[in-house]
Subunit: 428 residues, 4 copies
């Protein structure tokens, strides 16, 4: 199989150990990822951001191929039983390709919006392990234990920690791909970093102590520090520009309000048209069946929202119409605010909504977004041909300065018709 | 308004004459373009190709901005009444932004697939001119005649032909944007050409004869020939790689078969769930109302296909399942075949299907795709500081060689389960 | 004039106010910049880094064009006497184009290597103001005061500080171009930042106090913060990867040693072949004449080095041969070293050289390179539609963290034949 | 060894079989290529085109690495004695790296300009085979027969023709690199083509007949046709835009005139300062010694030209000054001209020069440049999984149309002071 990928260019799955990807690509549960956008509704802020989890899955598998190529160049320093065998490569490729299988519609947004929804990792696990899925059947046809091994890799466990960390860790193939892919689709070039150089700078070192003598990956100190810095900064920039973008956040709030309202109505006995079975289960306080969950995708969810524009509940209908017509909530950012002034601003905003006859639980939101771009932990070291291994912060001025720093955006969001009164009351 | 576009980078609509774009962007009929993919189902062949008509509309307006900037640099050679006024610029921008307003779901595919469907240009016209649309209302709020002028520009008419040709002509802003955008999204880099240089090489010349003294745009022969060549070749490559890609064509055939079957069933009195009102009108031999037509988009159509997986008609259900699970028809290409051998091959293929118990009208298709990358006409000239204007073919070896050449791909498509017998029968 | 630039693409100088660039490009003193590499001998570390000051001068003028375009979009907020007139634009373009006119061979390296050499800024001034130069004559033919005004702009003075800061300031066109150009030529992509977005985010604000009511440029806080961050980080990365690259520094040390030795020999009465007149003047403790200085370029200097391979002084001959054959000094980096341990290491290294029969003043060097990527000063503010202006560090986590931080690399350099003994003695 | 290359990004030579590159890079004769510009004086037309043969040699070796990687993926279809062994890979890498070793100053220009100069291929051969060179010694230290084998590879001979054609053939690594590199340095993006896809589309097929049963490389017809088309077109565009650019050609003419004049004077007994020994040999009708030839490089030649600005021969001095100050000859292009009208125009131009007191043999030139972008030969086939191999023109409309077509530019060049009278006389 040979593919054009807008991010990585030529992508091929032609080796023996890659055949599993080709077969998995046909699976119904994998094809479903074509209908789940990688960035949820960020396309409402970045018109190009329509890319899907399916394209990302291919990209993550491709990065894994390149990582495996690097590992095999350097694994002669390991005892042979710790090297990358063909079987381990196959497992890692399958895990990279399938790591996001369990995402609900609109990706992360769904599980955040639906109270009680299981995290997507749990659904990934169920899809891998349930004998009814095509993914499971394909994996089993290769090796009866493959579903379990892939599941463990995705959850970060493997006898060779360097493999499971490549699927799920600080420098994993997931992040390696999504930063580049989100940058490509949004046009936010800051998210680009130097993937070839980063891969080239990986080396094996012994684990730090007797209990963890398993080899781990480290950064070549002569060559790789800036690749690591740029990777960390790329992530920072993507949070700043895209993931915390005010319109993207406003769209997310709207989806959450819609889902909350819909579940509330259903629990209240109000019938809603086009209600997906999985959502009905959530409303009833149950977890949906796997089959019902897999029916859920962006198309189905947004199709339901569209149908709800004509329900009798005026609030639900109104929220759905706002989303479809992109009448997003407006935003006021609170700079340098402490907890007291934030909650004061929030209360003021709610009062303004109340006076305008709008339910503040629906039409006002406090959005507190935060991320820590870089936290030093013991699992990533920088090594030199001679001399001792060092922490990244010892050799990088930038990482030293950023380590542990939290990046925070605090905003009040509200229905757009409240803009004038909100600005008057809240902007200093 | 300031936007990030993955193709053009920074896009701004901040000038007085650009304010119309900002207002139009809020219109319901424009927001609808977010739900119509630029390349229909080409994403089944190119996982990145999820980009929408909405993003393309922004891109086309942006190219128009840049074209207007160029025109204003050179329009001092024209009498003042033929120059780019602020009003004309506004009209041209609106036309560039709205030129695709009438597209049905999956873009071109829909009008090709539904017998009797009006072309999207007619729907664009109706949306522009119908007082009920938000687009119309916004245009009218600027100038009562604006809907009519935009409509004429989109259809290629204007007192200044250089303006209408910029909206709809050989070198129009539509094509300028979509080649780059499709190239970006698919990863087919061959579709990239040198837009800045092409724009820079445009100059005004007098029209060729007394009846058409109106100024027209020409290419600067000292600088612009290779920009023109690369533009023509970019188009050729995109047809070769993307628009005529075998899986993209196979997906299109499947959609056509689904729509044909569904319309046939409805006409036959079989009720189908989730039937969009517009499709029901088509089935009844009527044109849908504008409101019904505007309800149609990719989400609605694919939602209907999804519902039809559970209809009682086994063929419709089967086709819909194939599409969703991406079990596309397979392809055999006929190289250098003449009409007789093509029809012989087609008949053979139909016979094979018949023997396998499959209706050949449904499960076999002959796909004859053709395009002429470059045809010389009198409307594009190459000019020099001294000496006479020349045709492109006089100064370009490549255009001379390509002029009039037809690019053809002929293929037999068929349900994938027929692959072995088809290959045996048809490949020489 | 229309040019292809590998960094900026299409570059044109076609407007009335840009005609000065076209004329200046013919001047002998400008053509000389073709023979001066932008990065001195960094091509010994980065094979692609052969780009010249001439290409950079064009790039800086191009960035100035784009900056002026931005300023004119926003200068309606200024009183008319503070706006960008055509004359001021012409002056600023000329200053951007000519700002590096006075560089000696190998750019910065020369003035650092020759004791007593005037800084290149002084030579730029002399070239601008001396009636014998073609540059002066061209400027004067436009306006008798133009040489003086350009000279002042280059030195950072103008009645409108926003113009002079654009030629020489934190965000000047010089740096805007050289970061991108050095990144392009070396292949160090980290040096790329978002120039269009940075330019777009510039706005006018009133100067901070009564004495400085002149308008200054500020960053749009809604849109421009990450463009500014990426610009600062690009500079950091270029220092880390290129300007402080060990082989680039080693080549610089070698050139310095050659020049020191040659000047020492000449002062000592030893005649050297192909001695450029300007160097002879420096040796005699004089400043060279302008004509002699202008004869100096990379070609002349490296030609002299080549000739000196056959001089009788064994040290000079040896150093010149090393440079030509790229037998650069080797490097040991001192991490986290304090002054005492640095000087101890240096002394050890000198002793090793001595024992090996090599003059430590020639064959050993201590290289202490440092740069402060970002220092907050009062001249750059971030502004918002409402609310007060803020310092960059108030709105940027990254700039807040980096502000004032010094980036330091300390290395011992030595002749390559000493490598083994040096590594043994110095690496911990 | 790990390098940043502006064209290919990360370049590493770390494998056992690549060690030869690392050692060769230190050789004096390889370092000399740093002083020879890839495109001669094209930088007078494209300010960025300062890149050297040294950078190109690295690039060619890198492309060879990637080609070898592809060959090894598909060579299991060959009998084992025809596969890519480690030794063959080493030889091919060395040949790719050294293929341009014999170039004189300013690349091709030199051997065209000096009557009787041996072609650079002959010098390459001498450098490889002469025991005095460092290159030879390094090769011999690996294998006594390596110099001979590399020499044969460079000249297109090897027991495995697919290897020698990779060094010197239609799709060789030389061309693969220089098209991309020249495109990168000049900013002429049209020279970019899809290298990864081209490499991926290579496959082995049996040679066409009994006598040539050796395996040869062919293009995968399912995937590779457009990569091949874009490669051919890239070459066409580079000729059109760069190699035949009027200022580049004008600079070449000037260099030729200078060298002709200098050799004429020397033969006439006029002593010239800074005369390189190799040129003196040419003047005496001899071939220079290898040592003298290797002393020649851009720096030495341009240094001589600079010195000759002060010779007593007014014509030589004048030509040298024109080159340094970039007062190039001007150009009038003759479109669609037949032999008679060309020679008539040439005679007119000479007469005009004569009347202006300028020697027409020096100050007028007829420049007839031609290239055939694509000629079909039997050595390149397109293959399919089933069915017979085909010629490229059978499967590519563009190659069919272009095959055999000659691209021609005919120009009269003359001293710039003759411009007005020339234009009056020659432009129709």
């Amino acid at each position: 199989m040979i593919l054009r990928d807008p991010v990585h260019g030529l992508v091929t799955f032609e080796a023996e150990e890659e055949a599993v990807i080709v077969r998995l690509m046909e699976a119904r549960e994998v094809q479903r990822l074509r209908r789940i956008r990688q960035l949820g509704l960020a396309s409402l802020a970045f018109p190009g951001a329509e890319h899907t989890r399916f394209a990302h899955a291919i990209g993550a598998a491709h990065v894994m191929q390149r990582l495996l190529e690097r590992l095999r160049r350097v694994d002669h320093s390991l005892p042979f039983w710790q090297r990358v065998t063909s079987e381990r490569a196959r497992d890692a490729l399958a895990a990279a390709f399938l790591h996001d299988l369990g995402h609900g519609p609109l990706s992360h947004l769904f599980e955040e919006a639906v109270p009680g929804a299981l995290p997507h990792e749990t659904w990934t696990d169920r899809i891998l392990l349930d004998p009814s899925t095509e993914v499971h059947q394909i994996l089993v046809s290769q090796d009866a234990n493959l579903p379990r091994r892939v599941s463990e890799l995705v959850r970060g466990h493997h006898e060779l920690p360097y493999l499971s960390k490549a699927v799920s860790g600080t420098l994993d193939v997931d992040r390696c791909d999504y930063l580049l892919r989100d940058a490509h689709a949004t046009g936010v070039r800051y998210g680009e970093y130097d993937l070839p150089w980063l891969l080239r700078s990986l080396q094996f070192v012994e684990g730090p102590n007797d209990r963890e003598r398993a080899p781990m990956l480290a950064i070549d100190g002569k060559k790789g520090v800036s690749a690591l810095e740029s990777f960390v900064l790329a992530r920072y920039f993507m949070f700043q520009q895209v993931y915390f973008h005010k319109s993207a956040r406003a769209a997310e709030i709207l989806v959450k309000r819609i889902l909350q309202r819909a579940l509330y109505l259903v629990r209240d006995g109000v019938p809603l048209p086009s209600m997906p079975a999985a959502l009905a289960s959530f409303a009833a306080g149950d977890q949906p069946s796997l089959a019902d969950y897999l029916e859920l995708d962006d198309q189905v969810l947004l199709g339901a929202f569209h149908a709800w524009e004509r329900t009798s509940d005026p609030i639900l209908a109104d929220l759905c119409k706002r989303l479809r017509a992109r009448k997003l909530f407006k935003t006021i950012e609170l700079y340098d605010a402490d907890a007291a002034s934030i909650s004061e601003a929030h209360e003021k905003a709610r009062e303004i909504a109340r006076q305008a006859g709008l339910d503040p639980d629906v039409y006002v939101a406090l959005d507190h977004a935060s991320d820590t771009p870089y936290s030093e932990d013991s699992s990533l070291l920088v090594v030199f041909p001679k001399g001792r291994a060092r922490k990244p912060s010892e050799v990088s001025m930038v990482l030293d300065r950023l380590s542990g720093a939290e990046y925070v955006r605090t905003r009040i969001l509200f229905a757009s018709e409240l803009r004038e009164s909100m600005r008057e009351a809240l902007i200093r």
